[in-house]
Amino acid sequence: MRKPYLPLVVLLLFVVIIGGSWLRIFNEYWQLVFLFMGINIILTVSLNLINGYMGEFSCGHAGFMAVGAYVTSILTVWLFAEDKVFGPPVLPAAWAIPLFPVALIIGAVAASLAGLLIAIPSFRTRGDYLAIITLAVNYIVKSAIENMEFIGGPRGFVGMKRVMNNMADVFNAPWLLIWTFIGMIITILIVHRFVSSTLGKGVEAIREDEIAAELMSVNTRRIKVIAFMLSCGLAGLAGGLFAHWPGGYINPGTFTILKSTEVMVMVYLGGMGSISGSIISAIGFTLLLEVLRPLGVFKWVVIPLLLVVMMLFRPTGILGNKELSDVFPRLRAIFGSEEESYALASD
């Protein structure tokens, strides 16, 4: 069969978005929209792993995003920018460009460790407990940051603008957008690989019937911990990217249960257990927020209403448990046909 065009399509998209932003074909507003799209895709795809593929219910995604956001931005500000608390930059500005992704990874690892901290006690129980525990964690993270004065407490943390400016001074490129795009692609690849692996089959088995999964030799606790850490780590990556947005500040108020809910809405709109659904709904939802901006606070009436209508008429979301290439087989020319996971059985 023909080679799939997907890498080519992704490359083209990269060139158009990054190139367009670089050459100012897309103005700053559109760059911001692209940035939020990318971040929302990372958040949605990663949460879908827990809430969609595994069928558990985590509602504290913003808490883990906050961990990544603060760890990454503290690192970059400490290392690469003049700051009131952290003093002069530790490293020359030129280092910021290669080390920025390292800071992102450290933020993601921190968020993933926070996830481990939650996963161990909460997965001893079954059922709805995870929802309550993650909800509590979201509040704990927010309150903890609010009470840390050295990183600004409730007023928020600033200085990331200087980091980004320093990077742009060394070499002028839309760095944040570049890393967001790459982070998004890596997230999609990791989650896709994970759910199509043997471990991923175990994830599905847990969703279907946990007891049966164990009777089939699936180590459910191990899978849950791995999946949860992965999901939280990717949320931390999204947080680290978000922290460097052109606004130049983050505050604990950004990472409340409202933000977690927003991500859940995107997951359920797109369809549980569907990566392409999550991507579509993250893009659509970001655009919708922009389109409805003139409505002001009333957009928070319209959007939930849309969700209600959606749940009434299409409870599985846009693509429930299916991928785009399942619905439109012609797209397989682009995506490549999903290798039959159990190819051995067909002979």
């Binding site: 059922g127 089959k201 279907e208 007891i211 009777l215 159990y342």
Partner: protein
């Protein structure tokens, strides 16, 4: 002796469900536990598979005794190890097939912990030989199968774990008599090919025809034991379980 359950006591909350039962299964045997509803049959199987205390909603807890399998106490191991390390598979009550997954995916999930891909292929062939119906429907979603087919899938899945001991919890439940006979025929065949079977049944008639030995479980106690023929001839068993 392959499996030896000694003085096993299990609680649900404050209620003792098993009051210290003891029984054993030898290699190659078919042993049946018969008894009425609530006698503790499923609890016994779920305890062997280490799903108790895991079924947390009921507060199930093992409070005494041991389950010795090949010289080791299963109570020291995790649920998945009971299957992957010791080869004890279970066809659970109500079948518990993965409804949204295809027949093939259901079968392959049972090989989750197995590394011997070549043997997996052979085992799959064998399952399809035993249950040709499953091969016809291998791409169909589990929940679209009929009750009998679901039972075949549940047994097939247990076979795919390549266990030495298969625990079966009421395979006759909800099936037409002719299907029950087919399933029991198949179990006989599976046993003849080397798998030891521990069968829990309410349908004592069928179970005693198939089994070599049996135990009668009554409200958490073993009240009778013997060869299948002895039990079938026992007047009390006849009266209580075989319809006079």
């Amino acid at each position: 002796m392959l499996l030896e359950v000694k003085d096993l006591r299990v609680n649900y909350g404050n209620i003792e469900a098993l009051h210290g039962i003891s029984f054993s299964v030898d290699e190659g045997e078919i042993v049946t536990l018969i008894g009425a509803n609530g006698a503790g049959k499923s609890t016994t199987l779920m305890t062997i598979s280490r799903q108790i205390p895991h079924v947390a909603e009921l507060g199930g807890k093992v409070i005494g005794g041991s389950i010795i399998y090949q010289g080791e106490d299963l109570l020291q191991y995790e649920p998945h190890q009971v299957v992957s390390k010791f080869g004890i598979s279970q066809v659970p009550e109500g079948r518990r097939i993965f409804g949204n997954l295809s027949v093939l995916e259901n079968l392959m999930l049972a090989t989750y912990a197995r590394k011997d891909k070549a043997q997996v292929r052979k085992d799959l062939k064998r399952v399809f030989e035993i249950f040709p119906r499953l091969e016809e429907r291998k791409h169909q979603r589990g929940e679209t199968l009929s009750g009998g087919e679901q039972q075949m899938l549940a047994v097939g899945r247990a076979l795919m774990t390549r266990g030495r001991l298969m625990l079966l919890d009421e395979p006759s439940m909800g099936l037409a008599p002719v299907l029950v006979r087919d399933i029991f025929e198949t179990l006989k065949e599976i046993n003849a090919q080397g798998t030891t079977i521990l069968l829990v049944e309410q349908n004592a008639n069928m179970a005693l025809k198939l089994a070599h030995r049996g135990y009668v479980l009554e409200t958490g106690n073993i009240v009778l034991e013997g060869t299948a023929a002895e039990l079938a001839a026992n007047p009390e068993v006849k009266k209580a379980y075989l319809g006079g």
